[in-house]
């Protein structure tokens, strides 16, 4: 065969297979991000969250009125069941004290977000530490480690056994009525969720062949946990954190609703607004609807993003 046809041949083959040579060295995280960008669910969720974030940041500055100003007091008579509904100068109407509901919604977004994020962070960080220790002990600690693990897990089980709202209420009862109480209470409730999740994922990963391979390489146990097991156990925890943000906001609202939240009326918060509105539900139902819808949409945003992340991080789950 002549040289010319040989190079032709190789070139033609290269042309036909060219599409295949596009490996980029993309890590699983980057692949997940790419899948996330193509998910409609993620986009909708992200847009909602972004709007919420914008609201939380600029809310206080764009609110048409002060959230505490009672300018229209003489128009509102809660005792007689007379309220001012939505109108040109007050889009969402006035509350029982004659404050502009729309302004209170805008300003309250920041508080609501703060409660959700801080509470979730509390749950995530403490849960992560407990779960991590437990998982590491169980996977690589031998018999002694297994005992440590089961002691920790029994403790976590006890926490789980308490109804979460009851736990939160008791914490709030001990610590008094404040926004911090709500955050801690909601956060503590999340601890066992994160701890169990991380431990479970670590246990599953601990049996994987690549962990065995790392052990056979002579890699130190601490390093196996940190560089092999934990990174591969993160996906469910990340997803849970997103979903927890939604539940944290709702639970914080529930606690505020029960009157355990911030007693300072100067700082509006959606949950508190909902609580106050319930007294006047018969006469002014819309007063409760605005914060409720706000909470629901925000929670929906985080849930959508969380679900989309679950799919992006573990594409095998789909179909």
């Amino acid at each position: 065969m002549s040289v010319a046809t040989k190079t032709d041949k190789i070139q033609r083959l290269a042309e036909l297979t060219a599409v295949k040579e596009t490996s980029t060295g993309a890590s699983l995280w980057r692949e997940a991000l790419r899948r996330l960008r193509h998910s409609k669910m993620a986009i909708v969720g992200a847009v909602i969250i972004a709007l919420f974030l914008v609201l939380a940041i600029v809310g206080p500055y764009v609110a048409p009125y002060s959230p505490t100003a009672q300018t229209w007091r003489n128009e509102v008579f809660p005792n007689r069941g007379e309220f001012v509904g939505a109108r040109g100068e007050n889009w969402f109407g006035l509350d029982h004290l004659g404050r502009d509901v729309f302004s209170r919604m805008l300003v309250g977004a920041r508080q609501t977000l703060l409660v959700g994020v801080v509470a979730t962070l509390i749950g995530l960080i403490i849960g992560f530490l407990i779960g991590g220790v437990s998982g590491a002990a169980a996977t690589l600690g031998g018999d002694a480690g297994k005992r440590v693990d089961s002691v920790i897990m029994r403790f976590i089980d006890m926490m789980l056994a308490l109804p979460s709202l009851l736990l939160a209420v008791s914490i709030a009862a001990v610590m008094g009525q404040s926004l911090t109480t709500v955050m801690i209470a909601v956060g503590v409730v999340q601890i066992p969720v994160f701890a169990r999740l991380l431990r479970g994922a670590m246990l599953a990963q601990g049996g994987a062949d690549y962990v065995l391979a790392a052990r056979s390489l002579g890699v130190r146990k601490r390093r196996i946990v940190v560089s092999q097991i934990v990174p591969n156990s993160l996906s469910p925890v990340i997803v849970q954190a997103t979903l927890s943000l939604a539940t944290a906001i709702i639970e914080a609202a529930a606690l505020s609703y029960l009157g355990l939240g911030n007693p300072d009326p100067a700082i509006p918060e959606w949950g508190v607004m909902l609580t106050q509105a319930q007294r006047f539900f018969d006469n002014a139902p819309m007063m409760a609807v605005y914060p409720a819808v706000g909470i629901i949409i925000t929670a929906l945003g985080f849930t959508l993003l969380g679900e989309a992340m679950r799919e992006a991080l573990d594409p095998k789950l789909k179909g």
Binding site: V19, K20, T22, S23, T24, G25, A26, S27, L28, W29, R30, E31, R34, G207, A208, D209, Y210, L212, A213, A214, R215, S216, L217, G218, V219, R220, R223, S227, Q228, P231, N232, P315
Partner: protein
């Protein structure tokens, strides 16, 4: 003196039960007294079916599972007695290649990171630069391009992944590499590439292999000496050719006759020795000779009561059968059918199996089950490292699930590539 010597190695996994306090209710006798020697520069093949303990034995050599009894001596050091930190450092000299090339590579580490992990652990190489040079030369040896460094395991094909697994073992310059089913998860056309690579590397670097596999043809192809395992112990050991020419243990004979040969001429002429029944549970091995419940030549008294020792029958051929010579000379008649009757008409076996099952102590039964401790059920109770029947099943099935859904895996691959 041999490079690697195993003497009376036993690995027993406790079966634990209990809600608050685990108590041991029995043992899975995964490896039950194995002694063998591996000479430097040779390949020792361990062959056996799932549940025979070959994987556990391989892992026990690296102390990835706890050795219950016996010694593993590498170059004069008894590994079974080393404190764990010293054992960790010793692992540099003993490396392992795993069956599942994807599962044994951390999906979140790139190839450079995977390959330098071991070097970092053992302080090989001054800095990352020096390590990278070494990795590049090893990648070249196993036939991977050096641009593989920054890529991730999921971007490679099965054969390439196994090359990465081999490279990972090689960077530490070990004396012995234990290959646990190195090719069984690969496609046939790719298997040969990896087998050839292993052979070339052995020639070039003077490596010593212990190859663990269920495929007798593969093992025979690459091994100098072969040990056949059944239910936790060696039943026969011989130089590769001798084993093929004259299998002496009834189990080896049956195993050999069962391996399909891709040649109709041979297949048509072959006489299969079909075994009756299934592998007994390693949690409740039969008394006497482990194989007597299925052996076509089993004798009434001795086989069921006395456990045969591995004895030398000349020419480096060792066999654990009381009647090896008698069977060979044809003096001993068959006590069970070996043809198709073994599969379809099995009255005598029915009785025998029923008896076996009756002996199972109730304590061994899984909590919610009324059956014999079928290996699959026991598997949940023993550490993941324990190989029980079903291991191979799971892997083979996983592999075939890929095969069954080429569309799915194909799509994934496409995604990988367009990413």
């Amino acid at each position: 003196m041999s490079l690697l010597e195993l003497d009376g190695v036993k690995v027993h996994f406790p079966i634990k039960k209990g809600i608050l306090f685990d108590r041991t209710v029995g043992h899975v006798y995964a490896v039950d007294g194995v002694s063998l020697k591996v000479e430097a520069g040779e390949t020792y093949g361990l062959v056996g079916e799932s549940g025979c303990g070959k994987t556990t034995l391989g892992r026990s050599v690296l102390r990835l599972v706890d050795i219950t009894e016996g010694s593993v001596v590498l170059d004069g050091t008894d590994l079974a007695k080393l404190p764990s930190e010293e054992m960790r450092r010793f692992r540099r000299r003993l490396q392992m290649v795993f069956q599942d090339p994807l599962g044994s590579l951390n999906p979140r580490q790139n190839i450079e990171s995977i390959l330098s992990e071991g070097m970092v652990a053992h302080g090989i190489g001054k800095d990352q630069e020096e390590r990278r040079e070494k990795i590049k030369s090893i990648l070249d040896k196993v036939g991977l391009p050096s641009n593989a460094l920054s890529r991730y395991p999921h971007e490679f094909s099965g054969g390439q992944r196994q090359r990465i697994g081999i490279a990972r073992a090689l960077v530490l310059e070990p004396d012995v590499i234990i290959c646990d089913e190195p090719v069984s998860a690969l496609d046939v056309s790719v298997q040969a590439q990896v087998i050839n690579l292993l052979e070339e590397l052995q020639e070039e670097l003077g490596l010593t292999y212990v190859v663990i596999a269920h495929d007798l043809a593969v093992v025979r192809h690459i091994s100098d000496t072969i040990g056949v395992m059944y239910l936790g112990s060696l039943v026969e050991e011989a130089p590769s050719d001798a084993l093929y020419a004259e299998p002496k243990h009834p189990y080896t004979k049956a195993l050999m006759s069962a391996v399909p040969v891709p040649d109709p001429e041979v297949e048509d002429k072959r006489e299969r020795i079909l075994l009756t029944g299934d592998l007994p549970s390693p949690a409740n091995p039969p008394s006497g000779c482990r194989f007597h419940t299925r052996c076509p030549w089993a004798q009434a008294e001795r086989c069921a009561t006395e456990r045969p020792e591995l004895r030398d029958v000349g020419g480096g051929h060792r066999v654990a059968c009381h009647f090896a010579e008698e069977i060979e000379s044809g003096k001993l008649g068959l006590t069970r059918p070996t043809g198709i009757e073994a599969v379809t008409e099995s009255e005598d076996v029915v009785v025998e199996q029923a008896e076996d099952e009756a002996e199972v102590p109730a304590a061994l039964l899984p909590a919610d089950s009324t059956t014999k401790p079928d290996a699959a059920a026991v598997k949940d109770k023993v550490p993941a490292a324990a190989e029980t029947p079903g291991d191979r099943t799971a892997d083979a099935v996983a592999k075939d699930r890929d095969a069954a859904a080429p569309d799915a895996s194909g799509k994934e691959k496409e995604q990988d590539k367009t990413g």
